[in-house]
Symmetry: C2
Subunit: 216 residues, 2 copies
């Protein structure tokens, strides 16, 4: 199926022309990033916490310390919202009112499942690592049994999902096009800077290919 | 006062050495970004929505269409969480377990106030614009009375606030330092690309200085 089915909760009401439920678009936005914002309630107060994620098919994995309040709360099966956002540029109009931002975002609603099977946990660890840096998993020491036990992994199904995007230049009021003000888009990109070797790295350790031209 | 006072809700429990309540650090993180993630509840479901913000002293301003569910919900005085996150780099350890991310984040808890005074609304519009692009406000057509009426502005006090940061290289298990794997930090930066003029821009419109060397 090529589209997620909008529900009453994921049907985008504001600027619905910016919304999409297209599966490939959603996957693309999720796979372009690696930090999400997780929303949950504790004692009636909403919290929004940034954390890493990885995706495999229609499952989003989260992980961290078993001492994390966020993960402990989510493992209790409470409603969660996970949002991933990329900012692609500033949209500079001729009026303050029409200034905007080009962005791509995905909002996932649902309930997370605690992953207890060691094989699925190990596979989730591989997915986290490869999601951030494709090719890294085979280079590094993989988790020990004790490290796996010391990691809480949650799985959130991609079922109730929407994406929202803005692209393109400013749209001004017709009268404002006559104003002598610069208008257009200032694109923004996340760019890798030169890798900084660990002080204890042996000098003959080669830089892996996946670090030479890193981009997302 | 140089620090926000931690409360039971903003006292960082996990990795407290990464936490700070220092006011200048919080201001710095907020002023380095312009997109936040807003957490709120509707019908018991948490939602996390990306949106723009601006800061003036100890007030964070949000704005948008009066038709926005998020803004309408928040204007009812419900608990909100606003989080701002910057990802500064990938921390590449010799084991999967010790991989990490360098980041800076601020979490604000509280209740937003609907800004109704036209003068404060206009000032908030100036703050949004200048927060994204310092110098822009004086170049553009400022909001009309009708545009101000068509914008909902909320003010969130910076009172219950915490920041969390990770900096520096990987910390590996002692035995892993002998492994022949590249370790260190891959810094990530948000970088502006060449400005893209609007197709209807008059060819003699100069590029403003604030667009020539944009960085955050």
């Amino acid at each position: 199926m090529s589209e997620f089915t909008p529900t009453e909760r994921t049907q985008v009401k504001r600027l619905p022309k910016r919304a999409t439920y297209d599966r490939e678009t959603v996957y693309g936005i999720l796979d372009s990033g690696f930090v999400c914002h997780v929303g949950f309630n504790a004692d009636g107060q909403p919290y929004v916490i940034p954390t890493n994620y990885g995706r495999a098919g229609d499952t989003l994995y989260l992980h961290g310390s078993p001492a994390s309040r966020m993960l402990r709360t989510l493992s209790g099966g409470v409603p969660v919202c996970v949002t991933v956002t990329h900012v692609d540029g500033l949209v500079l109009a001729r009026s303050a009112f029409h200034h905007s931002v080009n962005y791509r975002s995905v909002v996932i609603l649902g309930t997370a499942r605690l992953v207890e099977d060691p094989a699925e946990k190990m596979e989730a660890m591989r997915i986290f690592t490869e999601h951030v840096l494709k090719g890294r998993w085979n280079d590094i020491r993989q988790p020990s049994e004790q490290e796996l036990k010391g990691t809480m992994v949650l799985a959130l199904p991609l079922e109730e999902v929407s994406a929202k995007l803005r692209t393109g230049g400013p749209v001004d009021d017709e009268a404002d096009y006559a104003l002598p003000v610069w208008a257009g888009v200032l694109p923004l990109e996340t760019v890798a800077q030169p890798p900084q070797p660990d002080p204890r790295l042996k000098s003959d350790t080669p830089l892996p290919a996946y670090l030479k031209n890193y981009s997302r």
